[in-house]
């Protein structure tokens, strides 16, 4: 399990449940590595600001992370973490490698807004 304060997605079932129960979801699929940690930190800080978004992480190296790894939107990705943004269960944006808090905020504002 990733050492973050985010909601952990541990299986395909939990991934489906999360998407069913939440309109706006951001999942960071990665490891406890240098490119991933800053993204988790940004998410932890943004969680309080974006009450309308569910922030979660998923370990890249578990088999069930195929729900992220095998997404068509992630097909060309070759850098951790894979970050996927869902609206009503559909992927609206996906990014590869490190992103700044500013870049993440821009995506959240564009696709989800702030409640």
């Amino acid at each position: 399990m990733l050492r973050t304060n985010l909601t952990h997605v541990l299986s395909e079932q939990e991934h489906s449940k999360l998407l069913q129960e939440n309109d706006n979801v951001m999942i960071c699929c990665g490891r406890m590595g240098p490119m991933c940690i800053p993204v988790y930190e940004s998410m932890e800080e943004l969680e309080g600001e974006y009450k309308n978004v569910k922030f979660a992480d998923m370990e890249f190296d578990i088999p069930d992370s195929r729900v992220i790894r095998n997404l068509p939107e992630c097909r060309s990705f070759q850098g951790l973490p894979f970050v996927v943004y869902y609206k009503n269960g559909n992927v609206v944006k996906a990014t590869s490698s490190i992103q700044s808090k500013e870049q993440i905020t821009e995506i959240l504002d564009e696709h989800f807004g702030k409640n």
Binding site: R31, M32, G33, P34, M35, C36, I37, P38, E41, S42, E45, R75, S76, F77, Q78, G79, L80, T95, S96, S97, I98, S100, K101, E102
Partner: protein
């Protein structure tokens, strides 16, 4: 005064956190303002094996401990914010964050660190995470049995090139000079590795591909000849640049945009000190950043004792 601190430290890498630990332990009211993630360059290091007293630790873990130490002593840390204005002249220093929150202090320690240097070639931003990487330990396994390039000629480039041969079928080192800056040991290790070959005196000038990187244009520095090479990935290790863009015109910088400091790590502005990778110095290690953070903290504390807002502090 609201939002007033004795010392504001800008940056929460090894230098900034160390300054926070020393100042807060001495009961100096300290705020650390940090634009990126806590730990700075330190968290980019997968394993630190030469930090005295600790046999092996990840950069993330060391940063986490330093942060917790600083907070335990009462240091306030605000991270992932944007510094939008700095007025460092005068007895009271003023820093504006996110265009709205103003923090003031009697002294400032600048510990903004550095960031990975980019090549600046066409397509570099486009293919980041889609074939271009700055972290071998993070992304190496995406290139199992693939052909990759490592750009650079220093210790990191040569060391990571060797480490990437665990995954890649072929590693080509592209370096702009006809010799390496790396220690001989790293050069020898790379030269004797059968999977590694070299393209010297050359630079990548363009990254090409559709949805991911597939090809690069390389230009020879002497002849100007341009060749194209099919490639699956490029790892870039060409050093660091100091995070001092916002300090231009505020504190004295040298030609390399590093902060100029004296032996007490004081800048040209009274009450403003600097520490860590952003200052002009030769060696950039976690240990030297920690040393800088300590020196800057002790001198900042001494400075505020003599300031018009003097309080009594004890620094041991």
């Amino acid at each position: 005064m609201q939002n007033h601190f004795d010392v504001i430290v800008i940056g929460a890498g090894a230098a900034g956190l160390t300054a926070g630990i020393y100042l807060s332990r001495a009961k100096v009211n300290t705020l650390i303002l940090n634009e990126g993630a806590i730990g700075g360059q330190m968290v980019l290091t997968h394993e630190i094996a030469n930090y005295p007293g600790v046999e092996s630790i990840s950069g993330y873990e060391l940063a986490r401990i330093m942060k917790s130490q600083a907070q335990k002593f009462g240091c306030t840390i605000k991270s992932n914010l944007k510094i939008t204005n700095m007025n460092l002249q005068g007895d009271i220093k003023e820093i504006t964050v996110n265009n709205k929150d103003i923090y003031t202090s009697n002294a400032v320690i600048i510990a903004t660190g550095g960031k990975s240097r980019t090549i600046g070639a066409t397509g570099e931003d486009l293919f980041k995470g889609k074939g271009i990487s700055y972290c071998a330990t993070c992304d190496g396994d995406f290139f199992q049995d693939k052909e990759i390039i490592v750009v650079g000629g220093g210790n990191s480039a040569l060391e990571e090139a060797v480490s990437l041969t665990k995954y890649a079928s072929k590693v080509t080192i592209v370096h702009q000079f006809d010799h390496f800056q790396a220690f001989e040991y790293y050069v020898d290790e790379a030269k004797k590795n059968p999977k590694i070959n070299f393209i010297m005196e050359s630079k990548i000038i363009e990254f090409l591909g559709e949805d991911k990187l597939t090809r690069v244009k390389i230009q020879h520095q002497q002849t100007g000849d341009i060749t194209e090479l099919d490639i699956d990935g490029v790892f870039i290790f060409i050093g660091y640049v100091p995070n001092t863009e916002k300090l231009e015109g505020i504190v004295e910088l040298n030609d390399w945009k590093e902060i100029v400091v004296d032996k007490n790590l004081a800048t040209n502005i009274p009450g403003v000190f600097a520490a860590g990778d952003s200052i002009a110095k030769r060696y950039r290690q976690v240990t030297t950043a920690v040393s800088d953070g300590t020196i800057a903290a002790l001198n900042a504390a001494e400075y505020i004792i003599n300031s018009p807002y003097a309080k009594k502090y004890s620094i041991d």
